[in-house]
């Protein structure tokens, strides 16, 4: 009966507002969203909600309106931890919430935020509400509805077989040591700096390893979706080799040239020259084909690979559990959970 809220105050503000037409998501709107989530959680019967502390003060700001006759009936608490204003906060908060007995974590952020949260969440399911840019893992959903679905999961009112999806993930290895993960994609870039973190120059991409990608996705997953769609539940992934400028573009499976048109960012539709691709099975590792490089995980340049490093990416089926909003609410309705007789 306990839920947690991890809201990333830094999401939705990166350079993609400049180089593309990404959504601007200011923190006041996240406050409104949190209020709607809280009301959804409460209506579903959640008794306590833990908040991650942060430099913006989402906890204080969101609860500011719930006074007097609007007082929430459930308990809300701020997690006892010192924030550092970096991504370690989200991972630590997730791990502490698990210790506190949280049974569903609601996140506000993009795929990058959820990647970090999943590292601390263990087996506790995530309800990922999108406030970021690349939204394949996190979903664009009304806050009230997300709160209701997360509440139905946290209270156990809807069975896990209806409410949860076990996702996949990628493990990135440098010289045989696991250094990080990705939930959707690991993209190898001919870069040497993390810089402003985002990916918008398709010419820098050398390889894409993905857990999924569908034609309606945005971001790098859209390339996968346009070429060989893979959904979140399928026990497979994909490894794409991207053609370098001037190199012959060939599909190794058919021997014909391929340019894949995809929505690689908000408002950014590009033709991506794919050299070849192979499907991956769970447990399979592929070698990073270009060093030195920067590997972007879930849309953010993050991992630096030196000229003498050996890097690999492994597909595994032990990604985080994610709330399936539609299926959860449909099952709740089917069970009559919204009916008072």
């Amino acid at each position: 009966m306990i839920a947690g809220i991890i809201a990333n105050p830094a999401s939705g503000k990166d350079i993609r507002r400049l180089v593309a037409h990404a959504t601007v998501f200011d923190n006041q709107e996240k406050v409104n969203l949190i209020r709607r989530i809280l009301l959804g959680l409460q209506a579903a019967g959640v008794q306590r909600v833990w908040f991650m502390p942060d430099y913006f003060g989402f906890y204080e700001q969101a609860l500011d309106v719930f006074t007097g006759e609007n007082q929430l009936s459930m308990e809300t608490k701020l997690l006892p931890m010192q924030w550092k204003a970096n991504q370690e906060d989200s991972q630590l908060a997730a791990a502490k919430m698990v210790e506190m007995g949280v049974s569903c974590l609601v996140t506000l952020g993009g795929d990058g935020t959820n990647r970090v949260v999943s590292k601390g969440a263990g087996e506790v399911p995530i309800m990922p509400v999108s406030t970021g840019t690349n939204n394949v893992f996190s979903v664009m959903v009304e806050g009230t509805i997300a709160g209701l679905a997360a509440g139905l999961v946290a209270t156990g009112a809807v069975e896990q077989e209806f409410s949860l999806i076990r996702t996949k993930k990628l493990i990135i290895y440098i010289n045989g040591k696991a250094v990080d993960i990705a939930l959707i994609d690991a993209v190898v870039l001919a870069e040497q700096f993390v810089g402003s973190r985002a990916i918008w120059d398709i010419g820098k991409i050398r390889q894409i390893v993905a857990t999924c990608g569908e034609s309606f996705h945005i971001g790098i997953a859209a390339i996968v979706g346009a070429l060989h769609p893979i959904n979140k539940r399928e026990a497979k992934g994909i490894n794409l080799i991207i053609t370098e400028s001037g190199e012959q573009t060939l599909d190794s499976t058919q021997g014909s040239s391929i340019q894949v048109k995809a929505a690689v960012g908000p408002g950014l539709i590009r033709s991506v020259p794919v050299h070849s691709y192979e499907l991956m099975s769970p447990g399979q590792k592929v070698v990073v084909n270009h060093v030195p490089c920067v590997i972007a995980v879930d849309g953010e340049r993050e991992i630096l690979v030196g000229p003498e490093d050996f890097a690999e990416v492994e597909l595994v089926q032990t990604g985080p559990f994610v709330v399936d909003v539609q299926s959860t609410l449909n099952r709740a309705a089917q069970k009559g959970l919204f009916i008072n007789r």
Binding site: P9, D14, I15, V19, D26, F56
Partner: protein
Amino acid sequence: MALNKEQMLDLYRQMRMIREFEETVAKFFSQGQIPGFVHLYIGEEAVATGVCANLEKQDYIASTHRGHGHGVARGASINKMMAEIFGRADGECKGKGGSMHIADVELGFLGANGIVGAGLPLATGAGFAAKYMKTNGVAICFFGDASSNRGTFHESLNMASVQKLPVVFVNENNMYGISMSQERHQNITDIADRAGSYGMPGIVVDGNDVMAVYEAAEEAIKRARAGGGPVLIECKTYRHHGHFEGDPCVYRSDEEVNAWKAKDPLPRFANRLQEMKMATEAEISQIDTEVKKIIADAVEFAQNSPVPSLDELTTDVYCD
């Protein structure tokens, strides 16, 4: 963005120049050899360096009271800047401006400024001029977090947006307006959030990562030069020293200061260059040595320069 080795080393050299310049100013100020007040840029070097590396001859910059780094990054004469800070006749402003009024109009450096938020309308005006005169120039405005509370900020962003001016507003959010923390003077944490109110993009970058600043500035300047209008870039950064030299800094914890020093833009960039085999330790050391010499020479130049003579007290101060 595709910088070669020399360009990367230039970025490092520029940051090192600012750091050495400021540490030298701190030393001579503590010895009582520099008049007035000095506000040092130590810790924030990546911002001025990353932005100014994208500028062209016809471009302008407007600065703040913490303006030495902006001048160095824009390419102002190190000798003349040092002489100005020492209050000598061979300074950028013949020794009458001092630290807070260094300017070099020929370089499009519209000056450091003792008034908080005063650079905002200057840069907006320069942007207007560039557009009106069709020079293809852009104007950069460096400004602090607290100055975004001033009317000049709102008026300038509004005008720049309405007129679609080639202005890039570069906020150096070092978390304090003098001694007041941002959480005490604003109910927001990201100055970039304010851009939307004026119909322009606002983004946040790591202001201690010179490559992050460079990339953001490159895109913003390209956009502005092409007629796309203004942009607000918020650079999260931190000044290692107090607001002014002599500030006891009782409003900041050692823990906070040390956490930011661990993100010092200079060793961070130097280490990365070495990790990626783009520079050797010897090459970095050589730059450090060369820069030390340039700054030492600038001090000698300044100390050998005369103080302005009394009969020139009002020359260049009032219009003739």
